[in-house]
Symmetry: C2
Subunit: 706 residues, 2 copies
C-alpha cells in the first residue's frame, strides 16, 4: 500500500539527531555503568544471546498483541511457553537463560508458575522421597504445575483459607474438599486451562485420637494431579476453569478450582518440615513454622529486584520521548521565530521524571543489599539451622516489598501521564507494563497489610533497646535506636546540603516514629487496629531510610564494583542527593515533627530540588541507556533507542492496524456495519458478540477462523 | 452445564445481609440525598426511564466486552451508536435522554463527537449562513462528524499545529495540506473509520497583498467532507485511518488524517467571529480571540461535573465490597473463635476510601458552582458582549479541571488497589473505568500545563491588589488578596477544629503562594519556566481552596436545595470536615510555611483524621447509595447493589468465560494447542495471530467468523 504519506517525514528537529545530541552532552560512561548495574549472573551478555534467538521467530512477534481477543492471547501465550521450552533444550539453555527468555518475552505465560512457585515448593517443602519422585518430572516439564493457595474468599489471610484436607485414617488418604463457593481456589496462575498438577494449600484436618473429632492444624501444601494426562480434562470430583479477563496478563490462565471429596494419597502432603504419621494419624510439628512460607519470602525478594528494571523501562521510554517532544516556545522569549522547547526542560516534567531515574538506582542498591541478606540468611538456615536473622529479613523484605512496588507502580503511571496524549496510546508500549504491574502492590502480600510486620518488628526492637540500656546491639536497627534514645528530645537540625546528614535525617525520623508507636502500643497499650495508619507510615519511613542508606553506602562509602569512572560516580552522587531530597520533600512534615528538620529549613527544599534537577537533566538519556532495555522489550514507538518516534508511531497505525482493513457504514438508518454485509447477518453477529458465547463453542473455536 | 458447585454457597456472613445491616445502621436519608444530588435536568427519573429501554436489548449487553478483539469492539460500538440514534427517534428522546443513554452505555462511541465537539463547533463558530446549512444535517445525523485539532506533533500547543489552509485567491478556495508526518491529525475520535465530515483546525495562510508571500493568521476551524457519502472511503487527496489500540475506548475509532493539497470552498472556514474576505483575500479579525476556544471551555466545564460521578462509581464499588470482604481476626482479641473483620474497618483502608466519598461531594458542589459561573459568563457574552468575566472563568476552570480530574483518576486507582486481588480482576468492573479515565488528566488541557493559566491570573490580581490599596475588588479573588495583604506577616493559627477556620486556612495558603510568586515573577523578574513548579502548586492550592469553600458554603451557609433532613445535613458537615482535614494533611508543610498553621499543631492532624473517619464510617454504604449508580453502569460483581459478591464473581467465571469452552494441550513436545487440532494448523494460526493481518483482510473479516 503506497500513498502520498510515503514521501513525508516528521517536522524538524528529527528524533534521532536530538538523541545523538543528548548523548554527546553527557560524560556518563554508559557502557561501564551498564556493566556495573547488570553484571550479576552475566545478565548483559545473556540478554544479547537470548534476544538474538527469540526476535526472528514469528510467534514471538509482539506487534499484534493489543488487537487480539482474550482467548487468542492465551493460545499464543501457551504456544510461546511450549516453544520456549523446546528452544531451551535445543540451545542447551541453563535456568538463567530460560528466565531471560521469559523476561524478554515479557508476558506472564502458562509455564511461568512451573519454574517459580511450583518448583520452589517441590524443592523446599518436599521430603527426600517426595523430591526424588517429583523433582525430575517437574524439571523436565513432564508435568505442568501451578500453585493453589489464594481462594475466592481469602488472599492475604492465608490462615483463613477454607479448602480442607481431611485425614481418613482407614484408607490412609487425605480427602480434599471445598465446603463453600468462597473455598474455591482463585487467581492461581496456569490453573485455568493448562496445569495438570497443582500444589494445593488446604487446612489440614486430623481426627482426635480420643473422640474422632476433626481438628485443624492450619494450612499445608499438597501436591495433587488435577487433570487427566491424556485429555487434559479435569479429574472426576474437581471443577476447574479460567477466572476470566483481568487488568493484565491476558496470556495467563489464572484459574479457579473446587474439590468434591477428592482423595489423594498420604504422600501428597509435602512433608519436609511437618507431616502426619500414617499409622497413628498424629501431627508431626515443624521445628520452625516460619519456614513453611519460605517460598513466599523468596518470591518477595525477587519482586524487589524486578521493580527496578520495570521502573527503568518506564523511565527509559519517558526520558527518550520527552527529550524529543517539543511543545511551547519559551514564554519569556522576545524572538518570534524561537523554537519550541523539549518537554523534558520543563521543571514540571523534570520533577516527575528525574527523581524516578534516581529511584531506579536507589532500588538497585537496595535490591543488591536484599539479595545479600536473603542468601546470607538462607545459608545460615540450611547449614546450621540458625533462624535468628529470619525476623530481620522478614521485616526488611515486607516493608521494602511494599515501598518498592508502590514506587514502581506509581512511577510507571507518572511516566505515562507525563507523556501526555501519546502516553495514552498503544504506541507508548506502556499499556501492558502499566496494567500488569498494578498487580504487584497486591500480590505476595498486600502493600498496606504487610507493613504491619515491619512495624511490629521495629516496635519490638525499640522496646528492648529502650528498656535495656546495657543491650548488646544484634543488628543495625538496635544500634540506630540506641543512638536515638540518647538524643531524641534534641532538635537535630540536619543539613539538607550534607550527604551524610540526609541519611541521619531519614534514620532519625524512622526512629522517632518507632518511638511514638512504642509509647502508644507498649506503654499506653492502645488497640492494634487503631494504630494501623501509624504502623504503615512507620514502615514507609523505615524502608525509605533503608533505600537512602543503601544508596549512600554504595556511592560514597565503597568502591563501585564493577567499577565506573569518576565522572560517572559524580553523577551517581547527585542522583543520590536528588532521591533523598525529593523523598524528604514528600514527607517533610514528618521530618519536622521528629525534629530532624527545623520549620525554617522548609523553604530551601524546593530551590535545592530544582538545582539538583538542573544538574541531573543533561545525563538523563545516558542514564536510562545504561539500563540497556532492548527495543524488543520496550515495544514502544516513543521509547526506541534510535528516537525515530513519529515515523514509528505513524507506521504502526498506518501499516499494522487490522481495523483499517475494513470499511464501515456509519449511517444510523441501516443495521449494516461492514460495507456490503447485509443487515440480518450484522445483527446476528453483533448480538452474539455482545452476549458472549455460552453454548456456542464452535463459534469461538479459533480453528474455524482462518 | 451443572456440577457439584451448583449447590454450594459462599461462607457466612452473606453479602446481602451485611449490606442490609450497613444500611440499617445509618440515618442518612438516601432518597432525599439522591434527589438533592441528582435532580438537575431530571437526572434520576431520566436514568430510570432510559435504563428500562436499554437493558433488555441484546447488543447493549456488556458482559462479553473484555473478551473481544479490538476490531470486534469497534463493530459493536458502531452498532450501538446507530441503534441509540434509532431508539432516540422511536422514543422521541430529547437531547438529555440521548446523553443519558450514552452515559448508561458507558463507552466512548463513534457518534460521541457528533453531539459534543462537532455540533458545538457548528453552533458556536458558524456564521448564520453556515449554521443554516450545516446544523440540520448534523442534528439529524445525516452527516457524521468529528473534530480534528490535535496532531501527531502537537497537542497542548494548539498554536503550533502544522496542518495548513492556504487561500487561493484565483479560485477563491482554501487548499488544506499536511506538509509533514507530524502534521497528521491524530487522536481525533470517530475520524478513524466512521466520520464523513470533520472540523479541521489548520493554520490559516493568506498571501500578502503586496508580495504574495504567505502569512499565518493562526489556527482556524474548517468544515470539510472527508469521506464519500456512498462508499465511506476517504476522498481523493486524503489519507485516513484508525490509530490503533490505546488504554481505553476500544469502541472508539480515534483517527489520523493527512491532506495532499485538498481543496475546499471559501465557505468551509467557520466564520462567526473571524473570516477571509473572498474578494480581497483580507483577514477579518475576531473581536475577542478567546472566543475561538469557547467550545473547549464548555467541554472543560462538563469534565469537572463528570469527574464526581465517575469517582462516585469507583467509590460505590469499593465501599460495598470492602464492607462485605472479611480479612483478619482482630489482633488483640483473646477469643479463638472471633470472626474476621470487615476490611473497611481498618484505618488503613478507611484513609483511602472515606476521604474519597467526601471528595465526591466536594466535587459536586464545586461542579454546581462552576455551572453557574459558566452559564452566567456565557449569557453575559451572548447578551451584552461582556467578556469581563472570561479571565476569571478560565482561571477557575483550568485549575479545577486539573485538580478534579487528577483527584478522580487517582481516586479510581486508589479504590481499585484497596480492593486487593479482586480489584485487579474483570469482575471488579474497574478495568474500563480506570483505563479510560486515565485520559482525562491529559485531554482538554494537560493537567500540568493548564495550571499556568490559573497561576498567571492570580499573580495578575495580586499585582493589582498589592500595588493599589484603593482598588475596588471586582471578584472574590481580589477581596481575598486584600485580606491577605493586610495580614500576611502574622502567624494565623487557624484552628483545625473550626469549620470556618479551615476555609480561612486554605484561602490564606493560596494567597501566600500567590504572594510568593508575585515577588518572584513581578518584583524579581525570574524566568517563567523556572517558576513552573511553584505555579503548579499555586494552582492546586487555589483550586483546593475553591473546593473547600464551595463545600463549606453549601452545607453550612445555605439551605440545601432540594432539601435534606437534619441528620443527613450533619453527616454532610462531617464529610466536609473530613475532606478539609485530609486535604490539609496532604500538604501540611505548605500550611506551615504560609503561617496558616503552627508546627505544633501538626501532631493533632492524624488523631483528628482518625476521629472523623470513625464518625463517617457507619454512613459509607448509604452515602454511596445516594449516588444511585445502576448495576448496569457498575457492571461489577463486587459493587452490585445487592452485595451478592461471591456468587456473582463465580458465576461470571464459571458460566460466561469463552476460554473455558476449549481444552488445551499443555505438553511442550507438541505444537498442537487446542486438543485435536493438529500441529501444522496450530503453527499457521498462531503465526498469523502474532504477526498481525497486514494483507490478510479476509482472515480478519468478522463475517467469516460466525
Amino acid at each position: 500500500m503506497t500513498d502520498f504519506t510515503d514521501k513525508l517525514r516528521p517536522a524538524d528537529p528529527q528524533g534521532p539527531s536530538i538523541l545523538a545530541q543528548e548523548r554527546s552532552g553527557s560524560n556518563v560512561n554508559t557502557d561501564q555503568l551498564a556493566k556495573h548495574l547488570l553484571s550479576r549472573n552475566g545478565f548483559l551478555n545473556r540478554q544479547q544471546k537470548v534476544l538474538a534467538i527469540l526476535e526472528p521467530i514469528p510467534i514471538f512477534c509482539k506487534k499484534n498483541q493489543l488487537n487480539m481477543a482474550r482467548p487468542d492471547r492465551y493460545h499464543l501465550s501457551l504456544a510461546r511457553s511450549k516453544a520456549l521450552r523446546r528452544l531451551s533444550i535445543k540451545h542447551g539453555w541453563e535456568r538463567d537463560d530460560y528466565l531471560m527468555a521469559d523476561y524478554l518475552m515479557d508476558e506472564m505465560s502458562p509455564y511461568a508458575l512451573q519454574s517459580t512457585m511450583f518448583l520452589t515448593s517441590v524443592r523446599e517443602q518436599c521430603n527426600e522421597e517426595q523430591k526424588a519422585y517429583w523433582l525430575p518430572k517437574a524439571e523436565n516439564f513432564d508435568i505442568i504445575g501451578c500453585y493453589g493457595q489464594t481462594e475466592l474468599g481469602h488472599g492475604s489471610n492465608v490462615k483463613g483459607i477454607e479448602c480442607q484436607a481431611k485425614w481418613d485414617p482407614k484408607l490412609k488418604e487425605f480427602i480434599i474438599h471445598s465446603p463453600t463457593i468462597t473455598a474455591s481456589k482463585w487467581w492461581n496462575g496456569a490453573l485455568g486451562r493448562t496445569a495438570n498438577h497443582a500444589i494445593v494449600v488446604a487446612q489440614l484436618l486430623l481426627p482426635n485420637v480420643t473422640d474422632g473429632k476433626l481438628k485443624s492444624y492450619g494450612p499445608h501444601q499438597f501436591i495433587v494431579q488435577i487433570r487427566d494426562m491424556k485429555t487434559n480434562k479435569p479429574l472426576e470430583g474437581i471443577v476447574i476453569g479460567d477466572i476470566g479477563p483481568k487488568y493484565g496478563y491476558p496470556g495467563m490462565d489464572n484459574g479457579y478450582m473446587l474439590f468434591e471429596n477428592f482423595r489423594v494419597p498420604h504422600s501428597a502432603l509435602l512433608s519436609r518440615y511437618s507431616g502426619v504419621n500414617p499409622d497413628t494419624g498424629a501431627y508431626i510439628r515443624p521445628e520452625n513454622p516460619a519456614v513453611v512460607y519460605g517460598s513466599l519470602t523468596y518470591v518477595r525478594a525477587q519482586i524487589i529486584m524486578h521493580a527496578r528494571l520495570v521502573l527503568a523501562r518506564a523511565v527509559t521510554v519517558a526520558v527518550r520521548y520527552l527529550s524529543i517532544r517539543r511543545q511551547f516556545v519559551d514564554r519569556d522569549t522576545k524572538d518570534p521565530g524561537a523554537p519550541e522547547q523539549a518537554v523534558l526542560n520543563y521543571p514540571t516534567v523534570q520533577v516527575r521524571i528525574l527523581p524516578l531515574i534516581a529511584t531506579t538506582f536507589a532500588l538497585h542498591y537496595t535490591g543488591e543489599a536484599m539479595y545479600k541478606l536473603y542468601y546470607g540468611t538462607r545459608q545460615e538456615i540450611e547449614e546450621s539451622g540458625d533462624f535468628s536473622r529470619l525476623a530481620e529479613m522478614h521485616a526488611a523484605s515486607s516493608g521494602l516489598k511494599s515501598l518498592c512496588t508502590t514506587l514502581a507502580a506509581d512511577g510507571i503511571e507518572t511516566c505515562r501521564r507525563a507523556m501526555g496524549g501519546h502516553g495514552f496510546g498503544g504506541g507508548s508500549g506502556m499499556i501492558a507494563l502499566n496494567n500488569e504491574y498494578l498487580s504487584k502492590p497486591t500480590v505476595e502480600g498486600d502493600n498496606w497489610m504487610i507493613t504491619q510486620q515491619t512495624a511490629a518488628y521495629l516496635i519490638k526492637r525499640m522496646t528492648e533497646v529502650f528498656n535495656n540500656s546495657e543491650l548488646k546491639a544484634t543488628d543495625s536497627v538496635d544500634a540506630q535506636f540506641q543512638d536515638f534514645v540518647r538524643s531524641h528530645q534534641v532538635q537535630q537540625n540536619f543539613s539538607i546540603n550534607s550527604d551524610i546528614d540526609l541519611v541521619r535525617a531519614f534514620r532519625h525520623r524512622a526512629s522517632y516514629l518507632t518511638y511514638q508507636l512504642y509509647q502508644a502500643r507498649v506503654v499506653q497499650k492502645l488497640p492494634w487496629t487503631d494504630l494501623m495508619l501509624s504502623l504503615h507510615r512507620l514502615s514507609r519511613a523505615y524502608s525509605e531510610s533503608l533505600l537512602v542508606t543503601n544508596f549512600y553506602n554504595a556511592v560514597f562509602e565503597s568502591q563501585l564494583n564493577p567499577p565506573v569512572d569518576d565522572a560517572t560516580v559524580n553523577v551517581m552522587k547527585n542522583l543520590y542527593r536528588l532521591f533523598a531530597i525529593y523523598t524528604l520533600d514528600n514527607s517533610s512534615s514528618e521530618f519536622l515533627l521528629s525534629k530532624a528538620l527545623q520549620t525554617e529549613r522548609l523553604q530551601y527544599l524546593t530551590p535545592r530540588l530544582q538545582e539538583l534537577m538542573k544538574e541531573n537533566r543533561p545525563h538523563a538519556v545516558r542514564l536510562v541507556d545504561a539500563w540497556s532495555i532492548p527495543d524488543y522489550v520496550l515495544e514502544s514507538a516513543l521509547g526506541s533507542y534510535d528516537g525515530d518516534v513519529y515515523n514509528r508511531l505513524f507506521h504502526k497505525a498506518h501499516k499494522e492496524n487490522p481495523l483499517n482493513l475494513q470499511t464501515f457504514n456509519p449511517d444510523w438508518r441501516s443495521e449494516e456495519i461492514v460495507m456490503g454485509e447485509g443487515e440480518e447477518s450484522a445483527r446476528k453477529r453483533l448480538e452474539a458478540l455482545a452476549l458472549g458465547v455460552t453454548g456456542h463453542e464452535q463459534a469461538m473455536n479459533p480453528r474455524s477462523k482462518l
